[in-house]
C-alpha cells in the first residue's frame, strides 16, 4: 500500500467511524459558509435591487430649455440615455375655463405620463381617455363635462367628457393634460420640458446627467434632488446595515463554529495519543488532523455556498420580486475562509494536546 493511499485510507476511516463527529464539523463549516454566502450575495446586489425600487418615484431628471425642445434634441436625449430610461416630453400653457378661471394645461403622451407618475391615483373613465383631469379641477367642474381653451391663441374651445381623474396631492391636481399632438395643434406650443426617469444606481444617474449635459450643452439638465438624495441616503444606509449585520452574523457564527470544531479535535485526544505512542511524529499527526479538517471544511463550504446562494435567490424573489443571482466570485473566498477557519480551530486544539504526554492522555488524565 502506497503512503498516499494509506494516508487517504486513514482519513476516510477517521471520518467514517466517528460519523457524528464528522457530521458536526461538516455542519459547522456548512453553516458558516451558508451565512457568509447569503449575506455577501444579498449585499453585493442590494444597490441594484433598491435602486430599482426608486423607479416608482417617477422622473428623477428634468431637462428644460428656454423656447422649445426640437425633435433632434429629443432624439439625442433618447440616444444618449439608451433604452433603460424613459423620456416624456411635456408642453405647458395657461388655458381658461368657461367662467374665465385660469388653468394650467399640459400636453404629453398620456399613457407614458401615467406610467411615469405611477403614484397617481386614477379613476378611469373611457378606455382611451381624451384627457387626464386633476382632482381639484374635477371637483371645481363637479365631475361634469366641461370646455376650456388650452391657450391664449386657441381657435376653439375643447370639450372634455369622461376624462380620467387623477389625484397626486401636488400642483398637478389643478391641471389638465391632453395628448401632445392635439395640444400642439391647438396652441402651437412645442414641448420645452422633458421628464426623464433614469433607472439605475445613484452613480449611474449622475453619469446620465453628466452625459446629457455634455451632449446637449444648450439644455438645462437637473436632477430632482429630493429623490436622488433620498435614493443615495437609503441605498447607502441600508447597504451599511446589511454589511454590519452580515459581519456580526458571520463573525459570531465563525466563533461559535470554531469553538465546536476545536472541541471536536480536542475530544480526539485518545486517537492523538495512540498515534504518538505508535511513533508518529508531531508533523505527521498535525498533517492528519489538518487534512481531515480541511476536507470536511471544503465539503461543508461547497454545500454552504449552494445553500447560501439558494437562500439569497429566495430572499430576492420573496422581497424584490427579482432573483438575487449567485456570485461565483464568492466561491473561492468562502472555500478559503472555511478551510482557514477549520485549520485555525484545529491548530489551537492540537497545540494544547501537544503539551500533554501521550501516556497521560491514555491514562485518562
Amino acid at each position: 500500500m502506497s503512503r498516499l493511499k494509506l494516508f487517504f485510507g486513514l482519513l476516510f476511516k477517521a471520518a467514517w467511524i466517528r460519523k457524528d463527529r464528522s457530521l458536526t464539523a461538516f455542519v459547522a463549516a456548512a453553516v458558516v459558509a451558508t451565512m457568509a454566502t447569503t449575506a455577501l450575495t444579498v449585499y453585493f446586489d442590494l444597490e441594484n435591487k433598491l435602486s430599482r425600487e426608486f423607479r416608482s418615484f417617477g422622473a428623477n431628471v428634468v431637462v428644460t430649455k428656454q423656447g422649445s425642445l426640437s425633435t433632434d434634441e429629443l432624439a439625442k436625449i433618447d440616444s444618449v440615455l439608451g433604452e433603460k430610461s424613459e423620456v416624456v416630453p411635456v408642453a405647458y400653457s395657461i388655458g381658461t375655463l368657461d367662467d374665465g378661471t385660469r388653468v394650467v394645461v399640459g400636453g404629453a403622451d398620456l399613457a407614458k405620463l401615467e406610467n411615469l407618475n405611477s403614484w397617481w391615483s386614477i379613476k378611469h373613465g373611457l378606455p382611451t381617455p381624451p384627457a387626464l383631469v386633476g382632482a381639484r379641477l374635477d371637483a371645481k367642474t363637479g365631475g361634469a363635462p366641461f370646455s376650456f381653451k388650452p391657450g391664449s391663441g386657441s381657435k376653439a374651445a375643447m370639450i372634455v367628457r369622461g376624462g380620467d381623474v387623477f389625484t397626486s396631492g401636488a400642483d398637478d391636481d389643478s391641471r389638465i393634460y391632453i395628448p401632445l399632438d392635439e395640444f400642439i395643434h391647438e396652441t402651437g406650443i412645442e414641448p420645452n420640458t422633458a421628464l426623464i426617469r433614469v433607472v439605475g444606481r445613484p452613480v449611474e444617474i449622475q453619469s446620465a446627467i453628466a452625459r446629457l449635459s455634455a451632449a446637449l450643452p444648450q439644455l438645462e439638465v437637473k436632477p430632482v434632488r429630493q429623490i436622488t438624495q433620498a435614493q443615495t441616503a437609503v441605498v447607502d444606509k441600508t447597504g451599511s446595515v446589511v454589511l454590519a449585520s452580515s459581519a456580526v452574523i458571520v463573525v459570531l457564527i465563525v466563533l461559535c463554529m470554531a469553538a465546536t470544531f476545536a472541541n471536536a479535535v480536542f475530544e480526539r485526544r485518545r486517537d492523538f495519543a495512540v498515534m504518538k505512542a505508535l511513533g508518529a511524529s508531531n508533523a505527521t499527526v498535525n498533517m492528519m488532523f489538518a487534512a481531515e479538517a480541511s476536507l470536511l471544511a471544503l465539503a461543508g463550504a461547497a454545500a454552504g455556498f449552494v445553500a447560501g446562494s439558494a437562500i439569497a435567490y429566495w430572499i430576492g424573489r420573496a422581497n424584490f420580486n427579482a432573483a438575487i443571482l449567485p456570485q461565483p466570485a464568492l466561491l473561492l473566498p468562502v472555500m478559503a475562509g472555511s478551510v482557514a477557519l477549520a485549520l485555525f480551530a484545529s491548530a489551537w486544539s492540537l497545540a494544547r494536546l501537544q503539551q500533554i504526554q501521550p501516556a497521560g492522555i491514555l491514562r485518562g488524565e
Binding site: 458536526t24 447569503t38 441600508t238
Partner: protein
C-alpha cells in the same frame, strides 16, 4: 443527589460547558442583534426617506385652482384663500403630534424687485427657515432647513426674526438661476416695495425656488400686504405604510375600528386629525412621497426580516451542533451512569437540566451582547442607537431553551441507545 451530580458536572467539565455556553451566547446575541436591527430599521430608514420632503399638503378649503407654471406661482396675492399662520402650531396638538417632525408654510406671489436700479421680475416666496414656535408648554423649531433637506445654501441661512431689528436689512435667499441671470452675489442689497433686503445666501434646490427670492415668512407677508397669511403648508410626518385598512373611510367604521384607525399613524389618519384641528383646510397626501416611501420601507424591512430568519436558522444549527457534540462526547459518562442503575429518564433529565441552565445563562449573556451590538450598529450608521424592547429578553430566553433542547434531544436519545458495556469498552 441530583443537584450534586449537576454541580459536579459543571465543576469537572468546565471546558465542555464553556464551549456549549459560548455557542448558545453567540447564537442568541446574533438573534438579539438581528431582531433589534430588523425591527428598528423601519424607523431609521423612514427618517432617511424624510429627505424626499414633506408627505402631507395643507391648503385652504376655499382656495382656487393652483396656477403654477415652470415652478412659478402665477396666482396674484389678491386671488385665492389663505390659512391663518397663527393656527399652524395647533397641528402639534393632534393625537399623532409627536410624529409631525416639521412643517413649512409658504406664501408666494409674482413681484418685481430692483437690483442696481434694474427691475427684475421674480417670484417672492415667504417661508420658515428655522422658526421657533410654541404650542402649549412645548417649544419646537421648524422650517425648510430641517424639512427640505435637499435645499443647498451657499452662504448663510436667513434668520426668522418676527420683527427685524430696526435699521437692519432683512436677510433673504436668492435662487441660483435667478442669481446667475440677475448677477446677484452674496451680500448684495436688493429692494422690494421700498424695503431693502440683504442677500445672505444663494439657494440651490433643483426646483422652482432656484428662480425665486426666498424670504422669511413675516417679511414676505409684510411685503405682499398679507399679515398672518400662508397659502399652503407642507407637513413632514412619520407614518406607517398605507394598507387596505388605512384607505377605509373612518366615518363608516364601527367605533372600535374607528379608534384603531385613528390611533394608527397612517398618513390618512394624521391628515384627518390635522383637519379636525384646522377645520378650514384640506389635507392631502403628497402621493409621490407617501406612496413610494411605503414601498421602499416594506422592501428594506422585508429584506432585513428574511436575513434575520436566515441568521436565526444559522444560530439554531450552530447551537444544536454544539450541544449535540457536547453530549455525544459524554457517551462513557452515560454508560457509567446506566451500569450503576440509572434509568434512561434519570440520565435524560440530568442532561436536559444541564442544558436548561446553560440555555438560560447563554441566553442572558447573548441578549446583553446582542443589545450592545445593535446599539453600536445604530450609532455608527444612523447616529442614533437602536433600542431593544425588553420583551425581546423573554423571547430570547425562550428561544435559547427551545434551541438547546432541540439540539440536545436527538443526541441524548442516541446516547441512551448505546449498550453501557460497549461504551465503557470504548468501542461505541
Amino acid at each position: 443527589m441530583f443537584l450534586r451530580l449537576l454541580y459536579e458536572s459543571f465543576r469537572r467539565q468546565k471546558r465542555r460547558k464553556s464551549v456549549a455556553l459560548l455557542a448558545i451566547a453567540l447564537g442568541m446575541s446574533i438573534a438579539t442583534a438581528m431582531i433589534a436591527v430588523a425591527s428598528g430599521i423601519g424607523d431609521k430608514i423612514s427618517q432617511e426617506l424624510r429627505a424626499t420632503g414633506a408627505n402631507l399638503l395643507v391648503t385652504p378649503i376655499e382656495d382656487t385652482l393652483d396656477v403654477n407654471l415652470g415652478g412659478v406661482d402665477l396666482k396674484p396675492a389678491s386671488e385665492g384663500a389663505y390659512i391663518p399662520e397663527s393656527d399652524l402650531p395647533k397641528m402639534k396638538g393632534i393625537f399623532w403630534g409627536h410624529n409631525i417632525v416639521g412643517f413649512v408654510p409658504f406664501l408666494s406671489a409674482p413681484v418685481t424687485f430692483t437690483k442696481d436700479h434694474l427691475k427684475v421680475p421674480a417670484e417672492l416666496i415667504g417661508t420658515y427657515f428655522d422658526q421657533p414656535l410654541r404650542y402649549g408648554k412645548e417649544t419646537f423649531s421648524t422650517g425648510a432647513h430641517s424639512v427640505n433637506r435637499w435645499w443647498q445654501v451657499q452662504g448663510e441661512w436667513p434668520q426668522d426674526y418676527p420683527d427685524w431689528p430696526q435699521g437692519q436689512a432683512p436677510a433673504v435667499l436668492v435662487g441660483s438661476k435667478l442669481a446667475a441671470d440677475a448677477k446677484i452675489r452674496i451680500g448684495d442689497i436688493v429692494e422690494l416695495s421700498g424695503r431693502r433686503l440683504r442677500v445672505s445666501g444663494i439657494l440651490n434646490s433643483g426646483g422652482a425656488e432656484d428662480s425665486a427670492l426666498v424670504a422669511p415668512l413675516h417679511i414676505a407677508q409684510e411685503l405682499l400686504g398679507r399679515p398672518n397669511a400662508v397659502r399652503r403648508v407642507v407637513v413632514s410626518a412619520l407614518t406607517k405604510p398605507e394598507d387596505a385598512f388605512a384607505r377605509r373611510d373612518p366615518n363608516k367604521l364601527s367605533p372600535a375600528m374607528r379608534d384603531r384607525w385613528y390611533c394608527s399613524p397612517y398618513a390618512n389618519s394624521i391628515a384627518f386629525q390635522i383637519h379636525e384641528a384646522l377645520p378650514n383646510v384640506r389635507v392631502e397626501q403628497i402621493r409621490q412621497v407617501e406612496q413610494n416611501q411605503g414601498k421602499i420601507l416594506s422592501r428594506v424591512s422585508g429584506m432585513m426580516l428574511l436575513l434575520t430568519l436566515a441568521a436565526l436558522l444559522a444560530s439554531v444549527l450552530a447551537v444544536s451542533a454544539a450541544m449535540a457534540a457536547t453530549i455525544l462526547e459524554r457517551r462513557q459518562e452515560v454508560g457509567l451512569m446506566k451500569s450503576m442503575g440509572a434509568s434512561n429518564a434519570a440520565v435524560a433529565s440530568l442532561f436536559l437540566t444541564e442544558a436548561s441552565l446553560l440555555a438560560l445563562a447563554g441566553g442572558a449573556i447573548g441578549f446583553l451582547a446582542g443589545t450592545a451590538l445593535a446599539h453600536r450598529i445604530g450609532q455608527s450608521i444612523f447616529g442614533s442607537s437602536i433600542s431593544v424592547h425588553p420583551v425581546v429578553l423573554a423571547l430570547i430566553l425562550f428561544a435559547a431553551l427551545a434551541v438547546t433542547f432541540l439540539g440536545s434531544a436527538g443526541a441524548v436519545r442516541k446516547a441512551m441507545r448505546f449498550d453501557p458495556a460497549v461504551v465503557l469498552r470504548g468501542d461505541a
